[in-house]
Symmetry: C2
Subunit: 392 residues, 2 copies
């Protein structure tokens, strides 16, 4: 009968040394890892990278995967090797971390407001080949222009268009007016439009999602056309999420896709449905948390060493154990998870190591300092999540 | 009229250098900090530390504040200076971080199950003056004993008693049998009992909370007496949370208190009621997240730079802005918060810096690499949250 027993033959000192040196290939097994451990399955990750890259290539769209999902320069590099044009980062400090690791083309998808953010952004623009900033207020454009002038550089900027009731200038006349304003500022170079319809990404049902994304993106595409009609160059329109990659990627006028979660997938995305079925299985789940049963207070439940500090909890459904049917996990505090094992398909015992699929990948990755890149039972690499915690 | 405008006179380069060197006192203002920033108000923190220390001293109980709340050796040190006997840590890697910073007495409050955890625990026991481990299974006691024998040391252990339907051996005969088993193992030294009634800590209403904690702790105290009646020394019984410090601290038989959240407080604890009123105000709220308004897509809402990656989301209520009545925050994705400002008591504008009180302190602290220790408008110190992410 299969079991979840740890069978490591390594001492902890050996494991610790390998983790410190990073020299793990051919030596370190998943079974050797301290838990809770964030793991990515390389076969699945590589398949996901390849599939999205092929799709974008086939459709003639640029692909700029969003680094807020992985926060890991090593993974950004893998997407670049597969043809991505660069990376997105949500925040400036995240972009600085990617830049420090040699990523040369970065779109920062949130606005640079405040004296220090602008100073940092200008400095970063001087350090990498291609930095794209977004803006949604005229006074912010003025501030960026003044800082760029003082630094004697040009900043590449795009309009952040509000297509999801969050940040951004309203599509249509407001956006055109802002673009005209930007076009008059000598130290800003307007690249185009960012239109990220976050609310569409998780609409359940492909037809419904398609309708939602079309409704959100049509004003963005119309704004792009309106700018071009006014003689304001706007050759770039970046949008799309994992949920809408093959919706926005079919739209005339969208030039760049910025999905992130497709690298890992999670329970949240699993249930939105695909173009062909109820389950969104365009990409494979690659991300798990490995956990240990460290108490069995009775036969009914197993207490795991992974709780609120091991998983983001913003989704209304809990992690799910891989390869073990009939169990249900519930959070049992900061440090503990409770697994109801009364109807478990396999026996669960003290010390067993279970692997859990993650409700929401992005904020969960942000809890860990490193990700273990595994193939089968082996650990091929340990990647530092170098932009973890970089929310500023 | 008061405003939330940033008025810093520092350049980012100056701030960055101060943050890197840690030399901030008398130079760095709260207004200079990059956001989102985790801040602790030193007047409030010091008051909380002193109040709990005085209570424990007056009642003749040892105080061992729980480091899973702060994950910061500097804060552990402040509690030690005020008379705490040591620190608790939830996990072994957390204890290793505290030990590396010179904390010499640590209780690890979760069991050490698995070959590597035991090897690490034995090593840690050899590195600090006083390490206390907990256990709840006989086979785990055997494993710990064997590892201690191999290392030619004695391990100090306590029974983890299940008084909250989580980890632990059942109070009464099961616990006595386990204690007898441990007493026969030559390399384990039984110190006593850990009984942490987590479910009691947030019971609303002081009378109800008192009843809940008495019901949970009575079997623990009875187990202690049963052990002593059998001639098994059990001079130590550690329990209590912030919510039950002045309930468990009055119980005959409880010798040590292990609260953590009292250092910071949060919205969750605010509403449980105190011995004298509806609001639990025994301790002051010291912890906030400083955030910047970085988009105003219309007059009704302000978009903040603090979202799912800036606050733990396990509680059903959102962060609350300090000093600004009539607003409500909602999460707007990984990187954004949405503040409804239609009925705000003060005008809110692009670039404003707002301070938010936190729903749940422990898992929020775990999102940040450093905590800014402030007094009034000034930053007195930058403390590394050196056990952040240490969940293994």
């Amino acid at each position: 009968m299969p079991s979840f027993l740890q069978t490591t033959t390594r001492t902890w000192s050996e494991v610790e040394q390998m983790l410190a040196s990073g020299d793990v290939q051919g030596k370190l097994a998943k079974d050797d890892l301290p838990t809770p451990a964030l793991c990515v399955d390389l076969d699945a990750l590589e398949g996901n990278i390849q599939k999205m890259a092929s799709y974008a290539h086939e459709k003639g769209r640029a692909l700029r995967p969003h680094g807020k999902s992985h926060k890991c320069s090593e993974i950004a590099r893998l997407t670049l090797q597969a043809g991505a044009v660069g990376a997105c980062s949500a925040k400036l400090s995240e972009a600085e971390a990617f830049a420090a690791s040699g990523i040369e083309s970065i779109l920062v998808t949130t606005p640079m407001v405040g004296r220090h953010r602008i100073e940092r952004a200008v400095r970063l623009a001087g350090r990498i080949a291609d930095l794209i900033l977004v803006l949604d207020h005229a006074e912010n454009a003025d501030d960026l222009n003044a800082a760029a002038a003082a630094a004697k550089i040009q900043l590449t900027v795009a309009l952040d268009l509000n297509v999801t009731d969050r940040t951004g200038v309203a599509p249509g006349p407001d956006a055109v007016a802002l673009a005209e304003h930007v076009a008059r500022l000598p130290h800003l170079m307007l690249k185009g439009i960012q239109a990220y319809a976050g609310h569409s990404s998780h609409v359940i049902g492909f037809a419904e999602r398609t309708a939602s994304s079309h409704e959100a993106m049509a004003p963005a595409i119309a704004t792009r056309r309106a700018l071009e009609a006014k003689g304001i160059p706007c050759s770039w329109l970046s949008g799309a999420s994992t949920g809408t990659y093959n919706i926005d990627g079919e739209m005339d006028g969208v030039t760049e896709l910025q999905p992130g979660s497709y690298l890992f997938m999670d329970l949240d995305y699993d249930c939105i449905g695909s173009a062909t079925g109820d389950r969104f299985d365009d990409f494979a789940n690659s991300l798990t948390v490995l956990s240990t049963v460290y108490s069995m207070p009775g036969r009914d439940q197993a207490i795991l060493d992974a709780g609120l500090k091991a998983f983001a909890t913003d989704k209304p459904f809990p992690p799910v154990v891989k390869g073990l049917e009939g169990t249900s996990y519930s959070f049992a505090g900061d440090e503990h998870g409770r697994l109801d094992v009364r109807r478990a398909s396999l026996p669960v015992a003290l010390g067993d190591r279970l692997e859990l699929v993650i409700p929401h990948c992005d904020p969960t990755v942000n809890l860990y300092d490193r990700i273990f890149a595994t193939r089968g039972d082996q650990v091929e690499a340990v990647w530092r999540i170098d932009a973890r915690g970089m929310s500023a």
